[in-house]
Symmetry: C2
Subunit: 415 residues, 2 copies
């Protein structure tokens, strides 16, 4: 089955908006056996949208189009696609009623232009939008023997996502059942991409001959290894590949892709009834943010202290002023004192502390930009590791918090 | 000039990785007058990459390809493109020497497979990679009258971005000078997309006739209005459009796209020599994270307290236990006490506090999921606003912190 994704939106091409649909839909589809083989972004412009849809109709069994269903002058997708399919647009009274209800519930008058959202190409199924005004559309396109499906979804993620999960998924399972596809990603740290490939490429060759698809994706300080296969034997091939690879990468795999490390940590600590406190300086709250993205984090995280100023390190984490004066805020002793102080001040079982220089300013010859100390503390003691991460500010924060999660994970597993 | 972007990488189609290149390159190119008219993602798979490059060669003046230059078995771009162009690959001794230096500097042996990265199609210019091992390539493709450029860039953002800025931009300015393009985005809050369009669409019609491109992009609680134009008159058209629109949207525009609100706030407070403290509960550090993404935030932000547990609210922000018992943590009085306590504990000029229920758990009939109180405090007093944001957890955090930034911005401007 050939699946293609068309994202419409000039804001995507102009770089004003990140294309999160590509990732979200790609993932949701792949996990159900529909692997997107081509994704294209075109501007909110008639000819470009029509050309992209025509090209995909010539190749694909399933085509998803996102965006361009809103009420404004740059939302053209509905009409343009009706034109490509040669179907007239009809006003759908149920959508009109729904639009009136939507605005009435919000005590707002309905702008007249919203009525364009009630226009439906003949024969299309309407996908209700419970988070906005633009309904989606699903159209079966008769093209000789094959049944092709063209599905139009609204642009805002909080409208698109529930519509896809609640209405598109059941439709696909019924109308276009997928072949098996299994994909598993091992997330590793501590090995470069080529060093990693030298360890596992050769041993995996026999499985590659059986249909294993092997992929790598390098990020700062991390490499993901993707193991995938299709068809009836897919699950077995991926499981054998994983069994073969895991011992070769012992100690380097920190998570699999079903669960990120934040979630693993919150689950594990919740099960044990243990708690956590944080003291962050240069990562500015990102570590707390990542952990609190996990539902239920409040059972584990007592407090995160973003002790940016020295006075905050003293007041909230009890770091002695003399220690700060003697070693500077970015130092092994201060990292240790921050972790121990955060643990003491909150009574948490574990504390993690980070102090460093994210840059671009603030570096010295002694402690250049990128210098950072990470500490983890529990009843058994405190470990501090010095690092140097020479990245831009945002990457620095990402890499450093990832490392802090790894550090905590190793301590929790050992405990 | 027609510009197309090809992203290679199965991890993008499988939704394992977010396509940040599309946004970053799209933005960088557009700001310099090269507007991407089509972006496509294809798998790391020979036929798909070659087909995409052939299609783009048939249409575009400038083609950028990202990814697939690494040392592993799924990095195929270099060879495949040499084949499309009919050029032989040659080993480049300068790249070999650079690779040896790279590994020597890191005290690591060079894996033999890295040598594939020294293979260069005949006639290509090598783009040095100062953050990794994969060099980029720039190739002038002779196609009759037109000069076409095909540029290959490595996948990791921290390799691609400096290579683009330092080597590709000067090359483009020399070899493919761009026509004028001006794009300005006004970020608004408080108006729906269609209400906003009803305010500004009609007045802008004369400018649209002169070439103004008007676009909208809705996000949770926010709508971006994009004003763009091309050619010699572009700057004037966009400036006139902005002058016309701004009074119509008075009070709703919170930032323009050159500068986000975090940056505006940090700059403004730095200039005034004023300081800030935060106390966050349900947003879990995201507000601190957003503000500390701005270089120089340390001059302004004294501390961020992620007071997740009630005990942390008492200890770090001095919220009285009786107040928590009487009203609950998610309440107007506790939001007020958090802001005033954070200000008192740090001596900051301003404090912002957030307390609420991000969900999915923790709601009650009285205070359902999404209930949140935001407070801002300075010497003149404390304001608290109650809100209800019924989104998923991650969107809730985004919308709520955006609103907290707006609240602080209004208070700072009034001060």
């Amino acid at each position: 089955m050939i699946v293609e994704l068309i994202n419409t939106g000039s804001e995507l091409l102009l770089g004003r908006t990140l294309n999160t649909h590509q990732q979200w839909l790609g993932r949701q589809l792949a996990d159900r056996g529909y692997v997107v083989s081509r994704q294209v972004t075109v501007a909110d412009e008639g000819r470009a949208i029509q050309q992209a849809v025509r090209e995909s109709l010539g190749r694909a069994d399933l085509i998803l189009v996102t965006g361009g269903l809103g009420p404004t002058s740059d939302d053209l997708t509905r009409e343009l696609i009706a034109e490509v399919l040669g179907k007239p647009l009809r006003e759908d009274p149920a959508i009109v009623a729904e639009l009136r209800r939507y605005f009435a519930a919000r005590n707002r008058p309905m702008p007249a232009r919203n009525l364009v959202q009630a226009q439906v190409p003949e024969g299309a199924r309407v996908l209700a939008n419970r988070n906005g005004t633009a309904p989606g559309l699903a159209m079966k396109v008769a093209a000789g023997e094959r049944a092709q499906w063209l599905i139009l979804l609204p642009g805002p993620p909080r409208e698109l996502q529930p519509m896809f999960l609640e209405q598109v998924v059941p439709l696909l399972e019924r109308e276009l059942p997928a072949e098996g596809f299994v994909c598993h990603t091992l997330r590793t740290s501590g090995l470069g991409e080529s060093a990693l490939a030298e360890l596992i490429d050769a041993p995996l060759q026999p499985l590659i001959a059986e249909g294993l698809e092997l992929g790598y994706c390098a990020r700062p300080g991390l490499v993901d290894v993707r193991l995938a296969a299709r068809g009836g034997a897919a699950a077995g091939i991926v499981a054998r590949a994983e069994a073969l690879v895991l011992p070769l990468l012992a100690g380097h795999v920190y998570a699999d892709d079903e669960v990120d490390l934040e979630t693993t940590l919150i689950r594990e600590l919740t099960e044990r009834g243990q708690t956590l406190a944080l003291a962050e300086s240069c990562t500015g709250g990102l570590l707390a943010h990542r952990l609190t993205n996990v539902p239920g984090a409040s059972a584990v995280l007592l407090a995160g202290l973003v002790t940016y100023a020295n006075a905050a390190k003293e007041r909230f984490a009890g770091v002695p002023a003399e220690l700060l004066a003697a070693h500077g805020a970015v130092s092994e002793p201060v990292a240790r004192a921050l972790a121990e102080g955060a643990r003491r001040a909150t009574g948490a079982d574990y504390a993690v502390a980070i102090t460093g220089i994210a840059g671009p300013g603030g570096g010295t010859p002694d402690k250049p930009v990128g210098t950072v100390f990470l500490a983890v503390s529990d009843a058994a003691g405190t470990d501090v590791i010095p690092q140097r991460h020479q990245f831009d500010r945002v990457t620095f924060k990402e890499v450093t918090t990832q490392q802090a999660l790894n550090l905590l994970w190793r301590r929790v597993r050992a405990g």
